[in-house]
C-alpha cells in the first residue's frame, strides 16, 4: 500500500511538469495566465511537500497552506474561464453578480453545515480548514455546473481550451467535494480513502488538461494583401450596404 501511495503521489508532479511545458509551448499564458500560475504553483507545492514530508510539524502547515493556495488559484482559474466563455455577457450587470452570489451561497452553506452537522474531526484549526475547503469546493462545483448549463443552452462546444480547463477542474472539484464531505462527517478514519480519491481524480484532471492542450490550435497571420474584388462582388457589397443602411 505505501508503494501505491508513493506512485500516486509522484504521478501528478510528473504530469504537471509535462503540462507546464505544453502550456508554455502553446503560449496559453496569453489567454489563461491564472491557469499557468496555478500549474506553476502546483509544481512548486509538490516539490515543497515532497521535500518536507518527513518534518511532521512543518509538513502540516506546508500541506494546508499550499492547499489553500490551490483552492484560491482554482477559483481564479474557473472565474477566468467563465469570463472568457461569456466575455460579452459580462457587460450585463446581473451576469457580473453571478459569481459573488455563488460565493455567498457556498460560504453560507459551508457555515450552516458546520452549525447543523457537527464534525467528528478533532482540533479547531483542522475543522476550520476543512470547512473552508468545503466552501471552496462548493463554489468550484457550482461554477462548473453553471458553466455546463450555459454552454448547453448557448450551443458552445467543448473543444476549446476554456472547456478543457473547466472539465478537469469540474471533475476534480466534484470528487474533492464528495471526499471532503465524507472526511468532515467520518473524521480521520476516512483519511486514506479521502487522500487516495483526491489523488486519483487529480491525476485524471491533469491528464484531461494535457489532452486538451496537446490538441494543436492553428493560427495563421492575416493575409498581407487583401484578395482582389471582382466588379460583381463590389456591386453586391454596395447593394447589401444600401439595404442595411436603409433599415
Amino acid at each position: 500500500m505505501p508503494t501505491l501511495r508513493t506512485i500516486l503521489g509522484i504521478t501528478p508532479s510528473i504530469l504537471l511538469v509535462v503540462l507546464l511545458w505544453i502550456l508554455i509551448r502553446v503560449r496559453v499564458y496569453r489567454e489563461f495566465e491564472w491557469f499557468v500560475v496555478y500549474v506553476g504553483f502546483a509544481v512548486c507545492a509538490d516539490v515543497a511537500r515532497f521535500a518536507l514530508r518527513n518534518e511532521a510539524s512543518v509538513y502540516f502547515y506546508i500541506y494546508w497552506g499550499t492547499d489553500a493556495g490551490y483552492a484560491i488559484l482554482g477559483i481564479l482559474v474557473l472565474y477566468q474561464v467563465f469570463r472568457s466563455v461569456f466575455r460579452d455577457l459580462m457587460r450585463i450587470w446581473y451576469v457580473r453578480l453571478l459569481f459573488p452570489a455563488m460565493l455567498v451561497l457556498a460560504v453560507t452553506l459551508a457555515l450552516l453545515r458546520y452549525e447543523l452537522f457537527p464534525s467528528r474531526i478533532s482540533g479547531d484549526l483542522l475543522i476550520a480548514i476543512v470547512v473552508s475547503e468545503l466552501a471552496v469546493r462548493l463554489l468550484q462545483v457550482t461554477l462548473f455546473c453553471l458553466l455546463v448549463c450555459l454552454v448547453y443552452l448557448f450551443g458552445l462546444h467543448w473543444r476549446q481550451y476554456a472547456f478543457g480547463i473547466a472539465a478537469g477542474f469540474g471533475l476534480y472539484a466534484t470528487t474533492a467535494l464528495v471526499a471532503t464531505t465524507k472526511f468532515y462527517e467520518s473524521g480521520t478514519e476516512f483519511t486514506f480513502v479521502w487522500g487516495t480519491a483526491l489523488l486519483v481524480s487529480y491525476i485524471v484532471a491533469v491528464v484531461i488538461w494535457i489532452y486538451f492542450f496537446s490538441l494543436a490550435r492553428v493560427q495563421h497571420p492575416p493575409a498581407q494583401t487583401p484578395p482582389m474584388l471582382s466588379a460583381d462582388n463590389v456591386r453586391r457589397y454596395k447593394e447589401v450596404a444600401r439595404r442595411i443602411l436603409w433599415r
Binding site: F117, Q160, A173, T174, Q219
Partner: protein
C-alpha cells in the same frame, strides 16, 4: 430538523449537479452534432421578419388595438399576437444557435481576422439567444397565467427589452456580425445569408 433537511438537500443537489455535469461534458465532447460550415450554415437558417416583430412590440399600435375592441376580444387577439411573437423568438434562438456553432468552428483556428469575426458572431449570437430564451419563458408564463382570467392581458411591448437586452436591436447586430463574417469567409453567399436571416 427542517433546517438540516434543507441544507442537506441543497448540498446533495450541488454534488449531484457536479456529477451530472461531468457526464454532460463527456457526452458533449463525444456525441456532438456535426459542425456547421460556411457552406451549409445558410441552409439551416430560418428567415425572421423583424418588421413584423417591431410591429408586435409597438406600444402605440397595441394601445390603439386595445381601445378599439372589447376586453374579451383583446385577450383573444393578444394571445394570438403572443403566439406569433413566440414563433419569431423561436426562429431568433434557432438562427443564433446555428451562427454560434459556425463561430465555434472558426474561433479556434484560421487567420487572426477570421478568429476575431467568429468571436464577434459568437458574442452577438449569445446575446440574441439569451434574449430569445428569456423572452420565450416570460411569454409562456404569461400565456399560462392568462388562462386563469384573473390578471389583465399582458402588454407585449414589455418584451421589447428582457434581461437588459433589446431583442430587435441585438438581432440586427447579429445580422451585421454575420455579414462581416461572410464578407471575409464567403462573399458569394452574403446575399443568400441576408435573405435567410
Amino acid at each position: 430538523m427542517i433546517h438540516q433537511a434543507i441544507v442537506r438537500f441543497i448540498w446533495d443537489s450541488i454534488v449531484l449537479g457536479g456529477i451530472a455535469s461531468c457526464f454532460a461534458v463527456v457526452i458533449m465532447i463525444f456525441w456532438r452534432p456535426p459542425e456547421r460550415t460556411v457552406d451549409d450554415a445558410i441552409d439551416y437558417l430560418v428567415p425572421v421578419d423583424l418588421d413584423r416583430a417591431e410591429g408586435l412590440l409597438d406600444a402605440a399600435a397595441e394601445g390603439h388595438l386595445r381601445s378599439r375592441v372589447s376586453v374579451a376580444e383583446f385577450r383573444s387577439i393578444q394571445r394570438r399576437r403572443m403566439h406569433l411573437y413566440l414563433e419569431i423568438l423561436r426562429r431568433m434562438a434557432h438562427n443564433s444557435a446555428v451562427l454560434i456553432q459556425l463561430g465555434n468552428r472558426h474561433a479556434e483556428s484560421g487567420d487572426v481576422e477570421t478568429i476575431e469575426r467568429a468571436r464577434g458572431l459568437q458574442d452577438e449570437g449569445i446575446r440574441v439567444r439569451l434574449y430569445a430564451l428569456a423572452a420565450s419563458a416570460k411569454i409562456r408564463t404569461w400565456l399560462l397565467l392568462d388562462r386563469t382570467h384573473v390578471l389583465p392581458s399582458p402588454v407585449l411591448c414589455d418584451i421589447k427589452e428582457v434581461c437588459g437586452i433589446q431583442g430587435v436591436e441585438v438581432y440586427e447586430k447579429l445580422k451585421t456580425a454575420a455579414s462581416m463574417f461572410f464578407v471575409g469567409a464567403m462573399p458569394s453567399k452574403l446575399e443568400q445569408l441576408l435573405e435567410h436571416l
